[in-house]
Symmetry: C2
Subunit: 367 residues, 2 copies
């Protein structure tokens, strides 16, 4: 096959949800003749246990040579006391940085059969469908200088640098405008331009980009604190929210939790398109974490990982039909009342991770 997939299950429930998703991949190969060339690798705590680092150079190279990476989750209490540079998260952050995955797409949507799972009142979230676009390779996550220094008086000072350049802002802005054109045509750009100089530049560049390249799109600037409020107050006012790495981390988690379907939200992290080959680096991962407390118990919800695979089909291989099929099967199973523990509600049927997959496969056979 010319479709090279690198699978990185990681830690906690990562291996379980990736394992279940590979059953879907198998089904696609058998029933739809969609075959992938699959390699597996270690990342996070699993890589640390085996190699003393959260990501080996070899796996890093495999990732850059793959057409797409399917990622599980990293981290766990076992690794809490490791020094910063060895922590499981460093593996994920290195992948993002070295593959230059600057555009992180985090849809926050409420599945019709799951409106009641939200902590918000049903009328506020029913039909909710927001796209949070988070810049993923810049800002305080990666800028230098950073460190912990000793002060003359014997105390310490921990410091980080938050910075953005014009081209970094423009390239994520263009992705936001492209996304909005395929959606409801509205972009909200979020920063703290009243407090941060990187925010002042962000607002200037985005506003200018909208004027020059955003024809026909509705556009607004919003402060990050206000955005957090508005997400809780009336989330349906938003279409595409574009923001930096740190604000995106917090706001996308807030938005994800609003939906009440955290265990079902996928994400895609995309690099720039190569102008000659038309290819781009890409990594797909669920929004949820490694959930060490339920790992190995057969309780995890595999749907976020499966929907990440659906995004992979759509964004990396232009296989929209296959992605639709998988999403439809999942929808039907949920509508039928099956629930893993995290999304259980009265009147529904609680099932294990494997049973959820069984049902989705059966549904795929029927479609």
């Amino acid at each position: 096959s010319n479709k090279k997939l690198l699978v990185l299950p990681g830690d906690g429930i990562g291996p379980e949800v990736v394992g279940e998703t590979l059953r879907i991949v198998d089904w696609m190969a058998k029933k739809r003749s969609v075959s992938f060339d699959i390699e597996e690798g270690l990342v996070g705590g699993a890589a640390y246990d085996a190699h003393g680092t959260a990501l080996t150079d070899e796996t890093m190279t495999d990732a850059t040579h793959a057409d797409a990476v399917l990622f599980g989750a990293v981290g766990g209490p076992k690794y809490d006391d490791l020094p910063f540079e060895l922590k499981p998260e460093r593996g994920l952050l290195r992948l993002r940085k070295e593959m230059d995955l600057f555009a992180n797409l985090r849809p926050a949507m409420v599945f019709p059969s799951m409106v009641e799972n939200s902590s918000l009142k049903p009328e506020l979230v029913s039909g909710l469908d927001i796209m949070i676009l988070r810049e993923l390779t810049g800002g305080v996550y990666f800028c230098e200088p950073r460190g912990i220094e000793d002060l003359p008086d014997g105390s310490k000072r921990g410091f980080d640098t938050q910075a953005y350049t014009t081209p970094e802002i423009e390239r994520i802005g263009r992705v936001a405008f492209d996304l909005a054109r395929k959606r409801r045509g509205k972009v909200t750009s979020v920063e703290k331009a009243n407090v941060m100089m990187s925010g002042v530049l962000w607002r200037q560049v985005m506003t200018a980009l909208h004027a020059s390249e955003g024809e026909g799109l509705e556009y607004e600037n919003m402060f990050a604190d206000n955005c957090a409020m508005q997400l809780v107050r009336t989330p349906k006012q938003f279409d595409v929210i574009v923001t930096d790495n740190l604000f995106g981390d917090i706001l996308s988690d807030c938005a994800a939790m609003l939906t009440g379907s955290l265990g079902m939200l996928p994400s895609a992290s995309l690099g720039a398109e190569d102008p000659t080959t038309g290819k781009r680096h890409a990594l797909y991962e669920p929004v949820h974490g490694s959930a060490p407390d339920i790992a190995g118990k057969g309780m995890a919800n595999p749907i976020a990982e499966m929907l990440s695979f659906a995004m992979l089909l759509r964004y990396s291989f232009d296989m929209g039909e296959d992605a639709d099929l998988l999403e439809k099967a999942i929808d039907n199973v949920l509508a039928g009342g099956m629930r893993t523990a995290d999304i259980m509600a009265t009147g529904k049927a609680k099932v294990s991770t494997a049973t959820m997959t069984d049902s989705i496969l059966k549904e795929l056979d029927k479609l």
Copy 2:
């Protein structure tokens, strides 16, 4: 009187809500013989219009000489295109920094008669009472270097510095532990120690401080993104949340909106106690902003400003009884069904800013 109050109404609805609150101050003087020595000053856009700066040196000096500052709100679209250093917000930020108001107390509570106003389901927020303690004089809000520089290729780079020192973290940590002792005994310290070096130091110092000075208190570390999620999912799990300036800005606004009573939430910003006089600088302000869209229409909710004044009585003058009285009067009026537009609900009586105050004064007369 030996109680010197500086009143800074500011912009938008600031002058209205401060004006109504001064009617309460008058009542206190007449009926409770509590008299203040009141001066007024300009801040924000109002100061810029009069003097070309968001805060004059003279007003700055008045603030440091006052026993307490009662602040309204700043900002408005009229000032959107001013350069960074002249913006209304700079006045507020200068006050915080030069008065060294490092401890920002932002209670997020749901008033019993207002449970239905929350966007969250009633059972999740009924009885909610969290204290967000935000560090207010450090971090990315004030650290140097910061700026926008020209790059060799003609593009620009906006940059900020995020930093915290051991003593800065310890002093806000001590306030958190003190607050928790008077509340439900639980402290959640929030950072991104998995990503930021300032966060690594923050977690180390807080954890050590808890071990040495936090006896009897429950303590946990939490990542900022997870905290945003948990606030939406089960806000009642928290008692005191202590965090840095930027995370505090976002998380406190998120928590405020959860209550559904944004127009009713006060805040206190406190300096260190002078070891000889026992006095400390203090500024009190509502959590809501200047709301330029409803300014001058007699629609604003004056309660957040009045409750800020109640905090002023309690924290700056140890006048807990008078504070209780005012809070009780407000509670009773709300329980009686009166609502300003922002908190209006079916079956309640919609009233103007002034009528709300009239009713609170009448209630005070009765108590």
